[in-house]
Amino acid sequence: METKNQKQRILPAGEFNVFLKALHEAGYETIGPTLQDRAIVYDKISSTSDLPVGWSDEQSAGFYRVYRTESPLLFDYNVGPHSWKKYLHLPNLLLWKAKTNGGGFSFIEDDKSVGKQAFLGVRACEVAAIRKQDKIFLESEFIDSAYKKRRENTFIIAVNCTKAGANCFCTSMNTGPYAHSGFDLALTEIIDGNRHFFFVEIGSATAEIVMNKMPELELASRHDSTLVQNNMREVSYAMGKSIETTDIQRLFYDNYDSNIWEEIANRCMNCANCTMVCPTCFCTTVEDVTNLTGTEAERWRRWDSCFTMDFSYIHGGSVRPSGSNRFRHWITHKFATWHDQFDESGCVGCGRCITWCPVGIDVTKEIKSLQKSKATV
């Protein structure tokens, strides 16, 4: 008799709302893909009718479009302009508030309680991106308490990609399309003949608690597991883009003075869209503001980008004044210096910086040009 893995279960697509209800019962607010302003973005969802069923996306460099499909699939698209960092590493965060009282000042306590949130539809590349930010904010000498509070209250439901986007290159970065770990639950959506179901992998003890809130799901069969493996292999082959990562650090360090940077600066608008959409970029700026009467002060933290002049401003001016300096810095950090800093790549291959660069600058192409220019030296 076939021995079945207790941690692999089958959720019929028709039962998806039951699953969402179980999450709600376990105290989670569910956040997932929704269709807004002609794009698939993350927002609160309450039932499957909030999911963009019957919609898919088409992407190329500097281009994004959603289109209607006949498919009953719930997750028939790749990543959009939002990433989960907007819920973990907030774009605008009030760090503290203070008020004068007589001779001194006192801090005003703010309600900083964070509710339990379940992310639904976290792609493998995004699971990897969250792990990278965990490393930055939780596993270094200094722990980011704001991130920690949110992260500890987050339940991750990965959804493996059953199609690859035209700008995706997770296979090159070893992050996808299949999520091996880093989730509470992982789902793979399969249509097999007239069966439409989710292959569920249970990845944490918290997930067991959620699963206990709903009728027990049947165990997955060997056949089901083969379907998932085959599907993942197909998606890997269909990956829109790729890069060669061998010696990638050297590539950047040896090409610091390449004239490629000047050429890119003719196209790059230093607008910072790429860093804003990148799920691993973590830089922030801190702003101190006072009210007119000087009786109240606030300290805010906001997403920043190495594409601004202020980012590298020190006494006397900006360290990276030209567009070429700044583009070189961003791509070098993602693909080379991140290794020195965190022992891994800063890129998960999600392709967002390519799609959402208004002028379609494609990091995979620029890396290929660098590799080519180097080969001819």
């Binding site: 807004q36 302003d37 002609r38 794009a39 973005v41 500097g62 281009f63 994004y64 479009r65 302009p81 939002h82 907007k86 774009p91 605008n92 600066a265 003719n266 196209r267 790059c268 608008m269 230093n270 607008c271 910072a272 869209n273 804003m276 959409v277 702003e287 101190d288 503001v289 006072t290 009210n291 007119l292 009467t293 000087g294 906001r302 997403w303 980008s305 594409f307 601004t308 002049m309 202020d310 004044p321 030209s322 567009g323 799609t355 959402w356 208004p358 002028v359």
Partner: protein, 260 residues
């Protein structure tokens, strides 16, 4: 700034529509606090009571378009410790700088019944071209919260927070879907100075550039993108020749697409 006395503030008008000064009156909720810490000494739009100079802070709206104004701004500079220009007109010449691209008589002859009564300079120029300016606040009109921020910063001796990066950064922090990438709507956001909190893209419109060029704007790349998504040369000229037509990066880009 020393807090031994309430700083005296004056608001001055040159060639402009009054929209920027009005944003000061528009500060409703904050106006009381404003009056608590600043003596509004000369602000004809708000009160006829004028207290003579010198002034600690002068807010200057409008551009220089007549020889009389070119004289007057020097007087104001002499009476002001800190001079801050507010809005597109004062910082770049404004919409009336469209005359700078042609002969001003071509406009006066169409607009006025008796153009001979009109005595005006051939160019509309920013205040900075005439006197030293301590700080420029951009926008058409300026954002009232930024105005309050600049005044608070000045009062409390800290740097004002009015970042000169792109509108795109504000747009992305808000979680907007990019209208240029997702809808092929031409947008000036990537080359435009932040400050409006990405107002137009938040309503699915392209940015009109009313805060003028950002730091290190790469306008030629954006113009190419506009052509790709269907804009004509005329569209590009008009877009760069709006509120900040005479700001150098926008002026040069519009000239590059001007048909012979």
């Amino acid at each position: 700034m020393s807090r031994t006395h309430k700083p005296k503030l004056a608001v001055w008008k040159f060639a402009s529509c009054d929209g920027c000064q009005l944003s000061l009156l528009d500060c409703e909720d904050e106006l009381l606090a404003f009056a608590e810490v600043i003596q509004i000494a000369n602000f004809p739009e708000a009160s006829r009571a004028v207290i003579q100079g010198k002034y600690d802070i002068s807010l200057v709206e409008g551009s220089i378009t007549t020889s009389h104004d070119a004289e007057r701004i020097h007087k104001i500079r002499r009476q002001s410790k800190i001079l801050i220009t507010i809005g597109a007109c004062a910082t770049s010449g404004g919409i009336q700088a469209l005359r700078n691209f042609t002969d001003v008589s071509r406009y006066t002859s169409i607009v006025y019944a008796n153009p001979s009564y009109i005595s005006t300079l051939n160019k509309s120029t920013p205040i900075r071209d005439h006197v030293y300016v301590d700080f420029e606040l951009h926008g058409c009109p300026i954002n009232k919260y930024q105005l309050i921020e600049v005044c608070s910063a000045l009062l409390h001796g800290r740097a004002p927070i009015t970042p000169s990066h792109s509108v795109c950064m504000e747009c992305k922090r808000k979680g907007n879907v990019c209208v240029m990438v997702a809808h092929q709507t031409p947008c000036l956001g990537p080359v435009t100075h932040a400050g409006c909190d990405a107002l137009c893209p938040s309503y699915n419109r392209g940015c009109f550039g009313c805060y003028g060029p950002k730091e290190t704007p790469q306008t030629s790349s954006l113009a190419k993108k506009w052509k790709e998504i269907g804009a004509t040369n005329d569209d590009i000229v008009r877009a760069f020749r709006g509120f900040y037509s005479y700001a150098e990066p926008f002026r040069k880009e519009s000239e590059a697409y001007e048909e012979e």
